[in-house]
Symmetry: D2
């Protein structure tokens, strides 16, 4: 995330405002921890209320932050006033999401006027060890104002 | 969901117990409202804390109940003691998930000893009108005890 | 494929002309055997040159006719002069594609001005017996003239 | 593809033999041009008979060599005597596949005893310029002898 990747304060504010307006992110305890042009990072603790039947992170949590990281990565490359919608997303769950924290990194693979192709990786942190628990690939559509 | 589709009380209890152990389902207010052999239905209100930035259901909610409905549909066809894991799932988001309630119906397309192929549809209910907001297709793997 | 589904002769001609211009369809021996509004059927023999290492149909054949059937189903719902492009497609391979003939049926799940969501099923015929060998779900984009 | 990635002559022979037995690869003019542990490269000219209606490579060609490169990457990590089957594969078509030659590179993302998660990228070469035309992500299952 070098200088070329820096967003203007207005662009970053737009992303932070949209994120802040997603009540689901607050419910999941998710935080926007990195915003650059074409790359966004979201973290979420694996809260007691975000688990599946074995105490690991629920796939719904992994998907929610992976999809949001990918979506905001797409939004970071769009002109002022645009919004973005996921039209399809595939998630591969690679390993049980065990630990304390999930970190999702979304990025743009192919920007476009009509479609933006995105990817995201999700890692779990347990006692300082990181494991790759999921990756996502999907399609976003820009919505003009 | 005719007679052929009826589960034994033990099988149904196993699914209800697993569902009850997923704290994420409680966080989202999701309820298991139909369980038959190869087909499972889950409902969730669109709670104030389950929304995206426009007040519609967050894709994380739609995914969570669609994936769970598909997973329990797979589990309903497995021998006693088995469990099931999602390995990959693709979701198409067809329309904004507006309304009061989401209903996810999961079903088994191809049962197998090593893999189970599943689908799910998610509908939104708004003022008694139903709209098809998402469909999912994915792969589950059985875990022997 | 009732009366409502009937295409005008001009619309059908447009689809047949595009299909005829795909040299890959000729290489694979594929034929357009049914064209209706939102639903298209393509057949291909499992030629000696279309096989994988066990003599079954190669996944490339199954994909090619499934994707084409879905794409022409999308095209059948578009205004005069438009074309259609696949942007993403997922295929589930359910069973080995054994036999003499594959039949792909594509249909439109959600038409749209900007995106068309499609599905296709592929069946194999062996000694008159039909087996479901694949299904596909994907996204098409309309191209205006 | 360093030293760690080197296959034994027997392993490489097994992959070359399986590839040679796929008549579809010969029909498409595809060649196996790189085989290492977990990574396989396949090239195919865009033959006159492998095209869609605008003269670009047909998505069936792009899929066929991407899927095969991913599958042989998975096979390269399996014990003697095993085979591999694609169970599902998603392809994103990023740009028209214009040019003379397609090059597919498949690799293993997550090896496993029961499932192998794979990816592939496909590039087109036109007058020495390379463009990224597709990427694929999918699931392979090992078949024991």
């Amino acid at each position: 995330m070098g200088n070329d990747a820096t967003l203007s304060p207005a662009q970053e504010a737009r992303i932070r405002q949209s994120f802040g307006a997603q009540s689901m992110m607050a419910t999941l305890g998710a935080r926007l921890v990195g915003v650059a042009r074409g790359q966004v990072r979201i973290e979420a603790p694996i809260l007691p209320g975000s688990r599946q039947q074995h105490g690991f992170a629920h796939a719904g949590l992994t998907f929610a932050i992976g999809d949001s990281a990918a979506g905001y990565a797409a939004l970071s490359m769009m002109p002022e006033g645009h919004e973005v919608l996921t039209t399809e997303m595939k998630i591969h769950l690679l390993a049980p999401a065990k630990g304390d924290l999930l970190v999702a990194t979304g990025r743009v693979i192919r920007p476009g006027r009509r479609l933006v192709i995105v990817q995201a990786d999700v890692h779990a942190l347990e006692d300082g060890r990181e494991s790759h628990v999921a990756f996502l690939t999907g399609t976003m559509i820009p919505l003009a104002p």
